[in-house]
Symmetry: C2
Subunit: 346 residues, 2 copies
Amino acid sequence: MRPLSGCGAIVLGLSVGLGLACATRAAEDDALLRDARRLFAPLPKDMATAERPITPALVELGRALFFDPRMSVDGTVSCARCHQPALYGGDALAKSHGNHDRLNARNAPTVLNTALQFKQHWTGNREDVEDQATKALLGAASYGNPSYDVPMARLKAIAGYQPLFRAAFPDASNPITPENWGRAIGAYERTLVSRSRFDEFLEGKRDALSASERAGLRAFIDTGCVTCHNGVGVGGGEFKKFGVVEDYWKATGSQETDEGRALDTKNPEDKFFFKVPILRNVAMTGPYFHDGSVITLEAAVRAMARVQLGAAPSDREVQDIVAFLGSLTGPLPDNFATAPALPAER
Amino acid sequence: MRPLSGCGAIVLGLSVGLGLACATRAAEDDALLRDARRLFAPLPKDMATAERPITPALVELGRALFFDPRMSVDGTVSCARCHQPALYGGDALAKSHGNHDRLNARNAPTVLNTALQFKQHWTGNREDVEDQATKALLGAASYGNPSYDVPMARLKAIAGYQPLFRAAFPDASNPITPENWGRAIGAYERTLVSRSRFDEFLEGKRDALSASERAGLRAFIDTGCVTCHNGVGVGGGEFKKFGVVEDYWKATGSQETDEGRALDTKNPEDKFFFKVPILRNVAMTGPYFHDGSVITLEAAVRAMARVQLGAAPSDREVQDIVAFLGSLTGPLPDNFATAPALPAER
């Protein structure tokens, strides 16, 4: 006989005490769902906006460009080099290696769900995914091109791209431009949504999360993680100082300090400010933080609790929070897991 | 009314001349199919052998390892770095860049159908795909590990690999070994078959090839390309000197000469000998030759005719041969186009 393992199994003849415990747990679950709905939101089907609409032709072109390394200065860098499907849109490196082994300044965040963030890059110095994709063509440690002319000439030399650009930009007389490169890749990225069990929970399916995951969500809320990690992305909506209670490197063991947004703005008040990263799929995208200084999610949770909140959650609470964060892992979107066959050079 | 465009359209009342022409063409097609069947063979469903059997568990493990860069010395090199699905199992570079931007000595051939070749690598210095995969772990310009201990320790640190190795090697007490790394990746590669319209033709479906492709196949046979490019891979069965009639670099414009197999054997008779590459999917895997010195397939065909055969085929013949070679392109196998989700580090 299957052991009793939950309130759903209550039948006539069980003790009043168990009945009360179950009633309490049901009330707790109600409160948890209510709190979660106040703080988070389920992922949408895609991340198009009125200003950044998507069409199938734009997405098809953008998907090809995303996987194509031939527009980088040494032919080795595509978006997919640092945002690999097999690694959930990251590259499992502390900091990405770009063209000619040049080291990027910071860790490559996942490309999944990234378009819903209020800005792009760790310090928000890219307005949106379109801006990020276009400027990556010139990034010293990414595509490494000396000017936009070089990658545009490479693109024009691959005949198979011409019909794709014409279809994606039917009104343009010269559609192969750096701006349209970003538009197309951005449109593709706006389709890279990975809904998870947490979305089902938010939509009302309480048993989409296990008891440990629900306990973790409660701890995530009550410990204060949600102060920054909230909204549809569970983060990605604002800048915050990394290291509020203590310098962050005391917990991360970082070898170098990074002043974050202050390097862009030159404003001392922005020192150590970073964009709060989204936590969607975080269990699959280590190592953690802007410098990849922490390898395990458990250690990352402890470090954040310490330097941001001055908290020291128990082992059980950390385990539960890690379990909850695991519920943010969704399946890889098909049009990301599956590479397109790129046009050959003729 | 649809114009008459072939012998299938012969009806009563057409001239005897057209009838004779059609009879001649049918006889030519019969002869072509007969010749082709004598020289080539359709691709099998997989490339397992009695000595190298495959199981679903071996293939699943091998597929994960193929896409995982974490066992390379700098974390950037997986098999998929130089054998990219989007680029038909090559990387579109003249010579591949490996760990820390180290340059490989030769062009990366496609991994599709490669297991059917009699040896691996351009000079055949790897016995089979298993041997190639294992030794790549130590290759200076590929994975770059100083010893096998380093990547095996990395593998053991990723907990998610342990059940995959146990399932793939159920009788082994310590299944995580360099030999088993090669066995698993080899088993996966033995599934990477991409059958094309040419296989349908060989199986008797004459209209699987267009008139130009059939003319190209005829020219490919009659010009003498089949002397070396024959069998199931349309090559891949023997060593031959590159540059029989003339030094190869006179046609390829190569900046450096490569003595090929003589570098391995130290035998002067092997100077400029290379393994005859398979031509399956060749239209998708430029640039061409061991040094990627030629960009277009048309130029590669002309170069081969000149230096191997002393032939100068007409523009029409070259076009037809290129068309025929295009018929060797098959769809990307699903388990290659689609990346697996790799186990995260815990």
